[in-house]
């Protein structure tokens, strides 16, 4: 059994790497056609994020946001709840943290924890809604979360434009947060670390969020695999009817799943406002919520794999930025590569089909008939 599990996992990893490789290859072929200097463009794309220290920082920052989003998505997708609400929850998280960071007159030691709690709470509260609607009123969570996303983004835009934006600013953004409202750098303020600390502070926005993200990964893993709630989630994901027959309160678990997922999406928003931008800007989420889906997907909804998939995915995004700045290929090509990766990784039939044929040939049998496609 264990050996089988191992080999399954190995196949899964092989499959993801194959998908990434094929997608990168397609990207390269496209680059050959459109670029004056395709080799240089692709080198910038593939090596860009590690070519300079500040670019390395950009990559890690981006990945931290993606990790939180990936955790948020994994929690609900594990239970086969297709909540796409991370985008809106992230906006509300950014907003709540931002408002606290800007205006609550507390010293840094209290203001930042409060802002973090605020961001998490905002995500939690917005997350309850689609879960409740699905569990008790049987409302399709895809539609309800898409609607809530737009509502949240409009409310964010409204509050920013009418109340938060400083009146004399020419563009729609808040003031830069005061130092008490910006997450401090992750290197502790010790005398022998001073050199490293200055380097990180000057070139990157890497903050204490790193520790929070690592903790989050462990918490979500523990929640998913070591608690009754996590057990319920996984059972609901594999067979909701069975979960019901087994006497589980599936409704409560579903509601809790979307709400807890919201916590991490909210914190991702906090990271955007209090570390990356250090102010509230219009369209702060910029579609990242949907990218979180990809991160969770590549990690197969396993929390322990999420840091890796977020780093990998963040690398593609960071590389795309470098490529755009240092070559004639636009960063949008990478979106196409990302899409191909998603399609290849999620296409359940591609690899099993190949494997089945090989096995069938080996066993010297005829190929068994494929089953009818279901819903």
């Amino acid at each position: 059994m264990k050996a089988l599990l191992k080999s399954n996992q190995a196949r899964e990893i092989l499959r993801i790497f194959t998908a990434v490789f094929v997608a990168l290859l397609i990207g390269f072929i496209v680059t050959l056609f459109v670029s004056e200097d395709p080799i240089q463009a692709y080198r910038a794309f593939l090596l860009g994020p590690v070519s300079r220290f500040n670019r390395f920082g950009d990559w890690i920052e981006e990945s931290l946001t993606l990790m939180l989003l990936g955790l948020a998505i994994a929690l609900v997708f594990k239970a086969q709840i297709f909540s796409l609400g991370a985008e809106g929850q992230m906006a509300m998280g950014a907003l709540a943290s931002g408002v606290i960071a800007l205006w609550v007159p507390l010293p840094i030691g209290l203001r930042i924890p409060l802002a973090l709690v605020g961001g998490a709470l905002a995500g939690f509260l917005l997350g309850i809604i689609p879960g409740y609607l699905k569990a008790y009123l049987n409302a399709n969570e895809i539609v309800s979360t898409l609607m809530l996303n737009t509502i949240a983004l409009k409310i964010y835009e409204y509050l920013l434009t009418y109340y938060i934006k400083s009146p004399n600013a020419g563009y729609t953004a808040s003031d830069t947060f005061p130092t008490e409202g910006i997450l401090p750098t992750f290197v502790p303020n010790l005398s022998f670390l001073q050199g490293i600390r200055t380097m990180f502070v000057n070139q990157t926005n890497l903050t204490v969020m790193i520790y929070l993200v690592i903790t989050s990964v462990i918490v979500v893993y523990y929640l998913m695999y070591r608690t009754p709630f996590g057990y319920e989630l996984r059972i609901i994901g594999s067979n909701i009817k069975f979960a019901g027959y087994g006497g589980m309160n599936t409704k409560k678990a579903i509601m809790l799943a979307t709400a807890v997922s919201g916590i991490f999406a909210g914190l991702a928003g906090t990271h955007l406002s209090m570390a990356i931008h250090t102010k509230l800007i219009i369209n702060i989420t910029a579609g990242l919520g949907f990218e979180g889906i990809v991160v969770a997907l590549l990690a197969r909804n396993n929390p322990l794999w999420i840091p890796l998939s977020a780093l990998g995915y963040g690398y593609l995004r960071a590389g795309a930025d470098v490529m755009e700045r240092s070559s004639d290929v636009s960063r949008e090509m990478v979106l196409v590569i990302q899409a191909i990766i998603i399609l290849l990784v999620t296409a359940e039939r591609i690899f099993p089909e190949v494997r089945r044929r090989i096995q069938a040939r080996r066993a010297n049998n005829t190929v068994e008939p494929t089953s009818q496609p279901g819903s």
């Binding site: 297709f82 539609v143 737009t150 409009k154 949008e332 899409a339 998603i342 399609l343 999620t346």
Partner: protein, 326 residues
Amino acid sequence: MDITIVLRSIFSAVFLASVIRISTPLILPALGGLVSELAGATNIALEGMMLSGALAGVLVSAYTGSVWLGVLAGMLAGFAIAMVLAYFHLVLRTDAILAGVAINIMCSGGTIFLLYVLTGDKGNSASLVSGAVPNVTIPLIKDIPFIGTVLSGHNILTYLAFILAAVVSLFLYRTRFGAHLRAVGENPVAASSVGINVLRTRFVAFAISGVLAGLGGINLSMAYLTLFQRDMTAGRGFIALAAVFLGGRKPLGTLLAAVFFGFADALSNQLGSLKIPPQLVQTIPYFATIIALVVYNIKRQAEVAARARRFQEKHLAETAAAKAQS
């Protein structure tokens, strides 16, 4: 005083005409979303299909000089994207939602990429001279004072959208294939057991969905505006999907819901000039959709319960009758 201005502007002919105009790029993809929804697959890639249609239309009309070839290309682009989605979802068993997300990402990135390669501009296609689908004035009707302004002088695609709403309705409820399509969406196993080809039916549903979404994109880039802008759909594909649910998954309902969304959009433009925050007005249709979704499901649950009760009663009566006989 403000309220009278608002009311006067809402009931002005020009405003109502703008509602119809703004609704068109929602009606077309919403009809597409309805068809695939009824066949049992929520199509969240409408957005991507619209974008590809919009760009294909602009490019082909710019390079061939023919508006109608552009329209055809837009429909074909929507169709092609829909076939990619259908192949991955139906044959390779990719989850419809994830495949839809992927297609949207691909189309958003791909259209900008292609635009940049061809024009050197990532923002819009202003450097290309692309065609515009003409407007039509309806004889007779255009001379009626109020109604003439509201109904006449719209784009051909606007009239087409309303005609297609009727056509889709007839197709779904008055043709054999439409009945099959709905059966497949309702219960694929049962449909398959009576000899309906589930796979083929769903492929066709996706194809129709793609063509309609492509037309919606064409409407944006060759009628509403006459150029392509990056991400010019601005969430209309998702709004169209919402219209399907707000409309209770029925053709007329979907049409009305799409017009309602258009109305809210037009209203928020109007109110913006009166210093009423447009963002808040724009949220109204989304709240309405959530409410409609809930109401629809409560009604549906009640229906199912009633059907089960009727069945049980009938069953009890039959067993009682059988007992009485023996």
